[in-house]
Subunit: 140 residues, 2 copies
């Protein structure tokens, strides 16, 4: 298995609402309103929105609700950009779970949840590198 | 917010066991045995393994256990490679939740769970492109 991830699928209860949130965050997809899956090209991988019920069945797991031990993160190019993204999420009907603040590891971060409760850490990490194409690399 | 993901953190109950699983799958990290987080450079992003309890606290979410509506996928370059990766996962003490089979969308896929129960779909999708560098693009 090569060291890469191709696709992250977020299970959602209301596809139109979830799509509207990510579009309000500035993301675009080629999906039509009739599509039952929305795919976003996200750098060298894909983020999908799909019925949580169908995703659970397809993944052969029981869905007991709530969070399941996976958190996504979006790394910014500056500390100020963390606050900007959190404001963007609030304006898009997301929920800010933790306001931007200095972290114990020397960075600056906050957390928002999308309308289905999936948390995203928004972080500036001075020890990592964000390349021009948006790819994130370990190391300064 | 740019259309990209920087980091996926998988919450785990036994870091050494989780790390051994992903290393048995062929992944490598620069983490030392003493580190309490293991970072894998995964293409243009990072996959981390961290204490699920600490991740929940850091993400400001309640952890009710089980699956939480997010599934990762690894896309292969051929249908046969799907079966190879599932065998690799089985040999590495993962659990195959669904054997490789043709899918309704014209591909071939199966699902394994890592030792913490995080499901990975392993899929060959003839409608998408895997570039030489491992990046995954919508469209054939």
């Amino acid at each position: 298995m090569e060291q890469r991830v191709s696709l992250i699928t977020l299970g959602v209860s209301d596809l139109a609402r979830a799509r509207a949130f990510y579009e309000a965050m500035g993301w675009t997809s080629g999906a039509t309103p009739a599509d039952d899956v929305v795919f976003f090209q996200a750098g060298g991988m894909v983020v999908a929105l799909w019925s949580r019920e169908q995703l659970a069945a397809d993944s052969v797991v029981q869905d007991t609700g709530g969070w399941g031990g996976i958190t996504l993160a979006y790394n910014t190019r500056s500390p100020a950009e963390v606050d900007d993204v959190l404001e963007e999420a609030r304006a898009a009907d997301g929920t800010v779970l933790r306001e931007g603040a200095d972290t114990f590891w020397g960075g600056y971060s906050g957390v928002f949840a999308d309308p289905d409760g999936h948390p995203w850490e928004v972080a500036h990490n001075p020890h990592w590198t964000i390349h021009d194409d948006g790819s994130t690399a370990l190391g300064a």
